[in-house]
Symmetry: C2
Subunit: 181 residues, 2 copies
């Protein structure tokens, strides 16, 4: 998956691993993140496959390995984009695993954990709301639909966090009534 993200981003503009990491952190990061180590190794693998080519640029003492997409890379990316998803993506949520098994825990500990998660989620929701995608990424926009769709992914993030907060509030409220059982 990361491979297609890198391909897609390089397709907008050639970039170095470092830059790609930053772009991911500020754009696809909340629905698909990656560590720099994975980005660098994946780029190398992609070059081996002929999907991208790199050139080592030197300005002053700093070195940057800049990756550009090849024709093969572009056609692979387009083939991926044109073959629609026919299944539901799998959801993995560690907190739910913890909640599922928390029946034997001290209810106050569970409440404290959920309240901390609530605070983290609330902060993230505010970040997403504050961030209007246009100003950050509109510069890359090749067409109007791009902006619409980037906005849509950000809206998803906002809805997701709002739903999560909502759920946390409900669970917290329900546990509070059970406190002295």
């Amino acid at each position: 998956m990361l491979m297609y993200i890198l391909l897609g981003l390089i397709n907008y503009n050639p970039a170095s691993g470092y830059e790609l990491k930053q772009i991911i952190d500020r754009s696809t990061g909340y629905f698909w993140h990656a560590h720099h180590s994975q980005i660098y190794t994946t780029l190398r693998r992609m070059e081996d496959k002929g999907l991208v080519i790199s050139t080592l640029e030197e300005s002053d003492g700093r070195e940057r390995r800049v990756y550009d997409i090849t024709d093969k890379g572009r056609s692979d990316f387009e083939a991926w984009l044109e073959s629609p998803m026919t299944t539901i993506g799998q959801y993995k949520e560690e907190l739910l695993v913890r909640v599922f098994f928390s029946g034997s825990r001290d209810i106050e500990d569970v409440l404290a954990e959920l309240q901390m998660q609530r605070a983290l989620r609330a902060r993230r929701l505010e970040e997403y709301k504050a961030r209007r995608m246009q100003e950050t990424y509109a510069k890359h926009a090749s067409n109007e639909l791009d902006i619409e769709l980037w906005q849509a992914t950000l809206d998803f993030g906002i809805k997701h966090e709002a739903m999560y907060l909502d759920w946390l509030d409900e669970v917290i409220a329900r546990l509070q009534t059970k406190r002295h059982s």
Copy 2:
């Protein structure tokens, strides 16, 4: 992560890999799934670490390798449960990656893909709603809080799918107004 799920389930009741796969599919499956191959290999690794012990049971021609938790397994599991999460779990959603990069696609293709996803999500939402956790898993319940929390994870699934459908409907509606641009 899977290790703790297996430990937690075996802690309720000794079970074979096959049974654990089935339990996961019907309980934690929508927030943490696993293939049978991973379950079998993880159980073996857990046995090497002394967290579980297996015994090979034979009834008729069928063989079942039944795993039970050890004292070390129980204390590792409890230590994990008692150390609260202090970060937000990472969300990975392939469809959002696809949407993010779909600006160059034929809008009708994007709409068709989103509508298919809508149908899949709607079906899943109905499954979750129909499934009342009590009837399926209450048998394992060691206390009242367990039932409350299992119900809470199911409620999360329902809320999540409802939010997702809502978002899909919004994006679809927005794209439909762009159709002949």
